[in-house]
Amino acid sequence: MTNKTLMTRLEATRQIATAFAGDPIVASLGHPAYDLFATGDRDTYFYTWGSMGLASSIGLGLAMAQPARRIVVLDGDGSLLMNLGSLATIGWVRPANLVVVVVDNRLYGTTGGQESATAHGADLDAAARAMGIAQTVTVTTPAELETAVVRVRAEQGPWVVVVKVDESVPAVKPPQDCVFIKQRFMAAIAVPEGGTLGGPA
């Protein structure tokens, strides 16, 4: 694949954020989260600041807790490689409402651009399929991503969508207060934390 045919991660993220506007999105730490914020902050975004690898697991738990909502995960190739077991669990539980989008830039962008295994043959789409996730697709252009989005919105998941992208250097960072991120997110999906509500003495 030639790099000039690929979207940047920011361009892909903008398309994803538009396609899934209103859905809760769990963003993996570092550049995926930074780019999601750059497309326009929403209360329905859960930005992680640590726990590398766990975005898809957090998404699985959310999908189990909120089966009537579509839950979107914005993961990176390096992050998902750190928690490949998550694909096996998702392939077993098979939540129809879970969509894992992997922005695959084939490198560890947040830490300086070291190559990841997807630059050398690792195929996260095939890995997902091998773990029992039937709905997978790999896209390399905006048009293919749009086609994938239409399918994801129409057909039951769980989905794994691998978007081949090029690294782009983020210029902004999401909010850094973790409790604020959590409380805002939970209020936005209508399960406000008890501690934020007040009530009888």
């Binding site: 766990l54 975005a55 697991s57 957090i58 738990g61 807790a65 928690n83 077991g85 669990t89 399960v191």
Partner: protein, 181 residues
């Protein structure tokens, strides 16, 4: 332990305690003592959903998502698995103040036979202290339900994960030593 035998009192207590704490989701990586808990859940708690994870850190990720979705998660693991979970606890549960009821089946404490389990077993309580997780211990079958219910309720109302240790003296009791004539 054959499946036809009666459920163990301590395992009944674990299930009653986590149920009383309002938890209806248990995410776990199994170990031998926990199999008794899982059996009671399967046979007597149809309202509790159990989910097995491939690794303890993943179990904590799923539990965090359950909490963000409005549920009260329990995570069950062996003490060895705490080592696989520290980054999830320190960079997700603690800073975001995400609560969970954490039940740790102990290895490496009194009654252990496997020396490879001892270093981590010894480290469990100091690690919990170091990363800011409060921990209690279920000391007898009779008090297990109350202890776990209290740990769980406290965790969920204060929004800080709480640990209850299940020592081998509880889960794999040794025959009593006869004292005197």
């Amino acid at each position: 332990m054959p499946a036809t035998s009666a459920p163990l009192p301590w395992a009944l207590g674990v299930c009653a305690g986590l149920h009383a704490a309002g938890s209806r989701h248990v995410v776990y990586v199994p170990d031998n003592p926990l199999s008794h808990v899982l059996r009671v859940l399967r046979e007597s708690y149809p309202d509790i959903r159990t989910t097995i994870a491939t690794r303890e850190e993943e179990a904590f990720g799923i539990a965090a998502g359950l909490y963000l979705g409005g549920k009260r998660p329990t995570v069950m693991l062996q003490s060895s698995g705490l080592g696989n979970s520290i980054n999830a606890l320190t960079s997700l549960f603690v800073p975001y103040q995400i609560p969970a009821l954490i039940l740790i089946s102990m290895r490496g404490d009194e009654g252990e036979w496997n020396s490879a389990q001892v270093p981590m077993g010894r480290a469990v309580a100091p690690i919990c202290d170091a990363i800011g997780l409060s921990h209690a211990t279920a000391t007898s079958p009779e008090t297990t339900a109350d202890t776990i219910a209290l740990v769980g309720k406290t965790a969920f109302i204060t929004r800080m994960a709480g640990v209850c240790l299940l020592p081998r003296r509880l889960t794999v009791p040794a025959p009593s030593v006869k004292v005197g004539a």
